[in-house]
Amino acid sequence: MIADVLSLTRWEWFKLRHRWMPWILLAITAALVQVNFWVTYTLFRNGSEVSVGEGGGSSDVTVSTSDQFLEMFAFPTSLANGLIAGRGFGAILVMILAASLIGSEYGWGALRTVLTKGTGRWRLLASKLLLLTGVSAGALIVATAALGVSSVIALTTLDSNWVAASADWTGLGIGFGKAVYGMLPYVALAVFAAVVTSSTGAAIGISLGYYFAESILLGVLMQFDWFERIDVFILGQAVSGWMESSAGGMSFGQASLPDATQSFFVLTGYMVVLSGAAFWLFQRREVAGAKGE
């Protein structure tokens, strides 16, 4: 059974790698991380106080001294920062990919053709989720590696060491795992939306709409004291809490963020509920012909 899912995952990858979309999304992720990096670098070189993190998020930290800055740009901290920035952009882009991976099967009518060959519904959906997990991890690796190259270029121009004195490579590995895990609830959200709507466009709209609406709502609700008691149940807050202290030796933690363990269980809960609902619906729903999307 597991072998069937792995085999299907391989063939899902065969299909995916022949599409333009994942490569364009990967290029966008890498480009956004690079822009984030070089804007920060340029601001510092111009003597400005800069913030690093996801951009406007509660986990951002202000860096104002040269030592802090060089530490931030040296390995492995620069890579850990890349993970944080890449996870932020990547979550959006992987939601688009996930919505497309499922929604286009309905739109083209190919889902019916696949199921007619006896692939089994839950096996097919499991293989797509597995592929999306792998693709999320791969995208983070590529974005982070590209950032590493930029880091080397930046430090070379500053005549500084590439490796920070307080290098924590284990922390980087843990941070990578946490970043991938932090993206999975968004994957589950997009997959669920795609199965519910049977449409790529609608699924992208719902999942991105949720992502941005939550950020806006979070800014408003943070004003209330009572919200601190329940904020961990908000997906974005749980992800931030989960990612706390994962930046390879640099702590971005703030007192207002939820506890990492609690956040882990909340993220797991989101994943289980959303993907469980997606599996349930996918297993039972009738499959019509092409919708022409």
């Binding site: 063939w11 299909k15 599409r19 019916r112 696949v114 199921l115 007619t116 060959k117 009738e286 092409a290």
Partner: protein
């Protein structure tokens, strides 16, 4: 090994107020090329969908190869195309087939070459599916259905969108596949297609089974002859009065006489006694189209 490879029992599908399939009971024997014939909207594709597990029956049951319809094990042993074949538009025909071969757990490039050659797509195999005409998509659909050498084929309107030459090729192919011993369920609204290709047929209209049987049996020469005489008016009077003749009518410039098949030769003797001579006599041939129109009314309902 069961002799009935497809069986439906009181299979029913309702979409809200619309009754798409109404208590349909069918049996498709092993090795037959079986036609599912009906006008557009009769419920043929819905029946196919239920057999393949894509559509959930409202009530009733269906089985494929002795297992529940839509079961994974059964689906692995069949090939099917439902409506217009849908593939991945950005992949070439060959890559589409390679993908589906892969999800079946197989990898055999020679099979792909053979099937693409068989359906006449070898020359366009490396072009993207989105560039294919409807006829080419149908051909790729046939190649897809034949992946893995299935023992049962479910083909829903397989010649839809093809030019006449392509239709003839596909019908020849289906006949050949049938001769190899495969069971084929062919859904079509084209009466001549079913007549040319199928051994047995079920005619459905408004989701209901109208009739099921062997094509040859359904189209068995009727006990009617068409004849012309030297004096049709006198002949009609003689035949109407005869006890052997069940019915006689004048149609156009000839007479249509219903008489027991073995007694039709007596007509000439009967008429010649009254100095009416037969100039032309022939059994009345009924096409499936004529039969279909006879048993279904204007609304596709049984005319009884």
């Amino acid at each position: 090994m069961t002799d009935t490879v497809i069986e439906t029992k009181a299979l029913t599908k309702r979409y809200g107020r619309v009754l798409a399939v109404d208590r349909l009971s069918l049996q498709v024997p092993r090795g037959h090329v079986f036609g599912l014939l009906g006008p557009n909207g009769a419920g043929k594709t819905t029946v196919m969908g239920m057999l393949l597990g894509l559509v959930r029956p409202t009530s009733g049951s269906c089985s494929l190869l002795g297992t529940n319809g839509g079961g994974r094990d059964a689906l692995r042993r069949i090939g099917a195309i439902v409506e217009t074949p849908a593939f991945y538009p950005y992949l070439s025909g060959r890559r589409n087939l390679a993908y589906f071969q892969g999800v079946m757990g197989r990898k055999d490039p020679r099979e792909l070459d053979r099937l693409l050659e068989l359906v006449g797509l070898a020359g366009r195999a490396n072009d993207a599916f989105k560039t294919y005409s409807l006829g080419m998509k149908q051909r790729l659909g046939l190649a897809y259905a034949l992946l893995g050498d299935p023992e049962l084929l479910l083909l829903d309107e397989p010649t839809n969108g093809m030019d006449p030459a392509g239709m003839a090729e596909v019908r020849d192919l289906i006949r050949d596949l049938g001769r190899e011993g495969r069971t084929i369920l062919l859904s079509s609204h084209l009466l001549n297609e079913v007549e040319q290709v199928c051994d047995s047929v079920a005619i459905i209209a408004k989701g209901r089974l109208v009739v099921q049987g062997d094509v040859a049996e359904l189209l068995r020469p009727q006990e009617q002859v068409r004849l012309r005489t030297t004096d049709d008016a006198k002949a009609l009077a003689i035949l109407t009065a005869s006890a052997e003749v069940e019915a006689a009518t004048a149609e156009d410039d000839a007479l249509v006489v219903t008489i027991a098949h073995e007694r039709s030769s007596e007509l000439t003797a009967l008429l010649s006694k009254s100095e009416v001579y037969v100039t032309e006599i022939a059994p009345l041939q009924v096409s499936l189209e004529q039969y279909f129109l006879d048993i279904t009314g204007e609304n596709g309902e049984r005319s009884e």
